[in-house]
């Protein structure tokens, strides 16, 4: 299936995943690590090990710093 992956602050990608592909697969397809992002569907994070059920997601990178 084709999924639109909008990376906040970066590009929007059209990604193809297998029917049993997961949200983590989407993240890896846009060269990010599932460890460093939240995948948002309708404003809520989805478990990244779950199969993709929507055709559009938003990926938000988790950033760390307060500039120590």
């Amino acid at each position: 299936m084709h999924v639109t992956v909008e990376v906040v602050g970066e590009e929007t990608h059209d990604v193809s995943v297998d029917d049993d592909g997961t949200y983590a697969d989407l993240v890896r397809a846009v060269d990010l690590s599932p460890h460093e992002v939240s995948v948002l569907v309708d404003g809520s994070p989805v478990p990244e090990d779950q199969p993709v059920e929507v055709d559009r997601v938003k990926v938000l990178r988790l950033i760390k710093g307060g500039a120590p």
């Binding site: 460890h35 809520s44 938003k58 988790l62 760390k64 710093g65 307060g66 500039a67």
Partner: protein
Amino acid sequence: MSLSLDATQLDRYSRHIIMDEVGPDGQARLLDASVLVVGAGGLGSPVIQYLAAAGVGHLGIVDDDVVERSNLQRQVVHGDDDVGTPKVESAAAFVRRLNPDVDVDGYETRLTKENVELVADYDVVVDASDNFPTRYLVNDFCRIHDIPVAHGAIYKFEGQATTLVPDGPCYRCLFPEAPEPGTVPDCATTGVLGVLPGTLGCIQATEAVKLALDAGDPLVGRLLFYDAMDMTFETVPYRQNPDCLVCGDDPIDSVADVEYTDACTVSSD
């Protein structure tokens, strides 16, 4: 005019007082407010500057670091003579020099489960921390105790800000758990544009002032994403998560069972 403001204060805060949205009563409210700034580094510096200038009457500052010369490119409350001085001490001296109306309490410590109760004395918290355990502890404790939080984080040329209030989604509604250690880089290893925390910290200070005034429309359920290189702002809406372990349908009532190291996970017990 409010009788609670003296002539010097009416002069000092005149640009607030002439605005209907603040006025003398709003200024008096700021002078009565207590705000805790967690972190006196890049983000905390502009927050401390503007909250002190605004006349927030009681400022708490938590930080366990000392000033290093490499901080001075962005941490604008500290100066060259402060190198080697605890940041809370340097920041408190800055506040006292700027505005004698402000009582400042410095806590030279890292916020942990053992000392987090100090947060309960404050009306508003500004999360300017530089690590995930502190960020999740602030989120969790403040949500349990109905204390609003102005959150900010920065990375290289970009930043995120959002405001967490008792009736809105919390930080875990966006990021349920912290990433594994080492998977997300920090400013010390990647660098950061010196002015970037100024932009984000000013947004956090704005939110803290609005929260203290109970005015305006805070950044609730919205994450503001700022890209300094493109000079763009993007707003990402997000919702309260019913499965959130801190503010969802079955929330925790204490931080006692939360592990604030590594991934900041909540025990299933």
